[in-house]
């Protein structure tokens, strides 16, 4: 997890509230990703970024938005949290596509 931090590490919130998760890296990697991990599904890509202000959708992007205003930070926002968004969220970084991704420690989000 060196060089990648996520905050908060745990959060409990109520349905309908907005939630923002933060990923911070000190590796100066260009590419950043947000995944969710659920039993039986493995890691699924929510959104990714290929540079400052350059982002795109992954396979499970509905209900999520992202922003990247500087290289080191990638924010994931749930505009109106739902119970189906209860999950563990991981941020990852990579120097380039087609190379290994390095993951943060994760954020456990519970939506009641």
């Amino acid at each position: 997890d060196a060089g990648i931090t996520q905050s908060p590490r745990h959060k409990v919130t109520e349905t309908g509230t907005p939630v923002t998760l933060r990923c911070h890296q000190t590796e100066n990697h260009r590419y950043m990703y947000w995944y969710r991990q659920d039993p039986g599904h493995g890691l699924r890509l929510i959104h990714y970024s290929y540079g400052v202000k350059d982002t795109d959708k992954g396979e499970v992007s509905d209900g999520y938005s992202v922003s990247r205003s500087k290289t080191e930070d990638f924010l994931l926002t749930l505009e109106s949290a739902t119970s189906s968004q209860t999950s563990v969220y991981f941020c990852a970084i990579s120097e380039s596509t087609g190379n290994e991704q390095f993951f943060g420690p994760g954020t456990r989000l519970t939506v009641l």
Binding site: G58, F90, A92, T97, E100, G104, G106
Partner: protein, 112 residues
């Protein structure tokens, strides 16, 4: 801590024995493969990778084998130790694309 799944395939080995974890990948166009290790409460950790122009690659106590004919990947861990207990999953990527497909994982238990 963060959990990765309650019903994963499980492999149980005796300490000191060799472990073999298998993975079937889905996309015949995939040309880059990675093995990750995930311990309880932590993010996935890169172990070893292999590109499609190779069929074997060795690291420290780990070997990855790639059989493109049957789209099969395996991870061999020599002299398995208690610290190897974790969930292991493979990932595949094609042509340096943004989408990396992650397998659901195999849980490895090491008996002392």
């Amino acid at each position: 801590g963060e959990s990765v799944g309650l019903h994963l395939p499980t492999l149980s080995v005796q300490e000191g024995d060799n472990s073999i974890i298998n993975c079937a990948y889905s996309n015949s166009a995939s040309d880059y493969f990675i093995w990750y290790k995930q311990e309880s409460g932590k993010g996935p950790q890169f172990i070893i990778d292999i590109r499609s122009n190779m069929d074997k690659r060795q690291g420290q106590r780990v070997t990855v084998l790639l059989n493109k004919t049957v789209k099969h990947l395996s991870l061999q861990i020599a002299a398995t130790q208690p610290g190897d207990s974790a969930v292991y999953f493979c990932a595949e990527n094609s042509a340096g694309g943004f989408k990396t497909i992650f397998g659901a994982g195999t849980r490895l238990f090491v008996k002392a």
